[in-house]
């Protein structure tokens, strides 16, 4: 999976460079997030602006990241959801679970 990672203002930003977040690459994303958390990066932001399609496995991988970050008293924010991706969160009520920001710019500093 093509992910670019960057540390900025006290947060670790993961930008997904894939059009689809589905059962083909969600396992890899989940493992990648777990590894970051284990390495002590506990303030994560997932930039979904490049993702135009998400399936139930993609939502599952993000939920896994959210739960594991919470266990470590970290934070797990989402940014840049395209409208149809956003509507998948609403349908599953996950928009009430995640902190969702319109874009990376809106994400507050993590320090």
């Amino acid at each position: 999976m093509n992910i670019s990672t960057e540390n900025r203002n006290g947060r670790t930003i993961l930008s997904l460079k894939e059009e689809r977040l589905d059962a083909h690459n969600s396992g890899e994303l989940k493992d990648y997030i777990l590894k970051l958390l284990e390495d002590g990066h506990t303030r994560l932001v997932i930039d979904l602006s490049g993702v135009r399609f998400i399936d139930s496995s993609g939502l599952g991988a993000l939920l896994s990241g959210y739960k594991n970050a919470s266990l470590r008293s970290g934070s797990f924010l989402l940014a840049g959801l395209q409208p149809r991706v956003q509507s998948m969160f609403e349908l599953t009520r996950l928009h009430r679970v995640f902190d969702i920001y319109p874009s990376l710019r809106e994400v507050p500093d993590g320090n």
């Binding site: 589905d22 083909h24 399936d55 939502l59 599952g60 739960k67 149809r84 599953t92 009520r93």
Partner: protein
């Protein structure tokens, strides 16, 4: 046009590997975008067909893989006038679709939303024995 019936039939066989999900999903989007009979939002339809096919194919791969090598998954899309039918075949042990409850959306489970999506975006979903295996059928009226 006129009294004619528009028939589109697409049948796809691919190795049962998740790397072919995007091919199946993208073909479903192309079909949705070609559906002149559909008066609704064709881009939304494209996403929804992409999604339900992706979910059904993932289930065929993850829950119903036979043990022999060179395994494939077969899916069909049929449009006859305003009736859209999608078939996803598997060769697993099968399961009782009607026994699958709606997911508890407050439980934060990582799994269990696939059939929920199918039921949400299609008019009905069924699962039964067919062709030496099983078939998941999804129907939608293109009103």
């Amino acid at each position: 046009m006129g009294g004619e019936t528009d028939i589109i039939n697409v049948e796809i066989v691919v190795p049962n590997q998740t790397r072919y999900l995007s091919l199946i999903g993208n073909i479903a989007e192309q079909v949705a975008k070609a559906l002149d009979v559909y008066t609704g939002d064709r881009d939304a339809l494209a996403y929804h067909l992409n999604l339900v096919l992706t979910e059904a194919m993932v289930n065929a791969i993850q829950h119903a893989s036979p043990s022999d090598a060179n395994k494939t998954v077969r899916v069909c899309m049929q449009i006859c006038d305003k009736d859209l039918r999608i078939f996803v075949y598997d060769h697993g042990q099968g399961f009782d679709l009607n026994a699958v409850p709606p997911p508890n959306l407050d439980a934060l489970n990582e799994r269990g939303r696939g059939i929920f999506f199918m039921r949400t975006f299609m008019d009905w979903v069924s699962y039964r024995k067919a062709d030496n295996g099983n078939v998941l059928e999804m129907y939608k009226k293109l009103a």
